[in-house]
């Protein structure tokens, strides 16, 4: 199934883009998706366990993904 990964701020710099369509096996979790992303980041600039939001809500890494989910990888926030 296809998942949309979103990258912001310093993480967009890591991947050189702000969005990536990714193919993952059915039943994959957030952690599975993160493993694929870490494989794309040989310099290990993405932390081992970054904050993640699925469809605009903060999510645990064991959350099971569904087709079309929008998974945002969230750097430490710095609003205000």
């Amino acid at each position: 199934m296809t998942i949309t990964a979103l990258f912001f701020a310093s993480y967009a710099d890591v991947f050189g883009r702000s969005q990536l369509e990714m193919e993952v096996p059915t039943g994959s979790t957030v952690a599975d998706l993160l493993r694929q992303l870490h494989a794309l980041d040989p310099e290990r600039r993405l932390p081992p366990a970054p904050l993640v939001a699925v469809n605009e809500r903060y999510a645990r890494h064991d959350q099971v993904l569904r087709p079309g989910d929008e998974v945002a990888v969230i750097p430490p926030v710095a609003g205000g």
């Binding site: 979103l6 310093s10 939001a53 605009e56 969230i74 750097p75 430490p76 609003g79 205000g80």
Partner: protein
């Protein structure tokens, strides 16, 4: 009550007018502005970026929680994103309440929650020409050393 992420300059006076009402005895306005020094480095400006749809959702959640917890619907939060220069307002939080204690508590609650969980990021631009994404967790870790 209302929460918004905007790209245009903020208007604190308009927020103050928006929350006013004869049932309220206290209005509290917090204005966050770009300052010229951070962590000892001379700053020339800040670029704010956001995950807009989620940021609005989170901000609206914070405003609703503050309203219910502290007992007032006169709550407005606006956060600006884009390129800001020194002295410009990045965030305005307005809270009005019949009593001042709750107004202070609600205002403080909102800014702390905003900084904790609303997906907004800032890249500081320094007078020396360099620029860097701000990581408050790193700053806190260093401060704790």
């Amino acid at each position: 009550m209302r929460a918004a992420i905007v790209v245009t300059p903020l208007d604190p006076s308009a927020v103050l007018a928006e929350i006013a009402g004869v049932a309220n005895g206290a209005s509290l306005l917090f204005v966050g502005t770009v300052r010229d020094v951070n962590d000892g480095r001379a700053v020339s400006g800040i670029e704010y970026t956001t995950y807009q749809s989620m940021a609005v959702r989170e901000l609206e959640g914070i405003v609703a929680e503050a309203a219910s917890r502290f007992g007032t619907s006169d709550v407005v939060v606006e956060h600006r994103v884009g390129q800001l220069t020194l002295g410009e307002a990045s965030v305005v939080i307005g809270v009005a309440h019949p009593h001042r204690a709750e107004a202070y508590e609600a205002s403080r609650f909102i800014i702390e929650e905003l900084k904790r969980r609303v997906p907004i990021w800032k890249r500081e631009e320094y007078v020396d020409g360099s620029r860097e994404w701000v990581d408050p967790t790193a700053t806190r870790a260093e401060a704790a050393r």
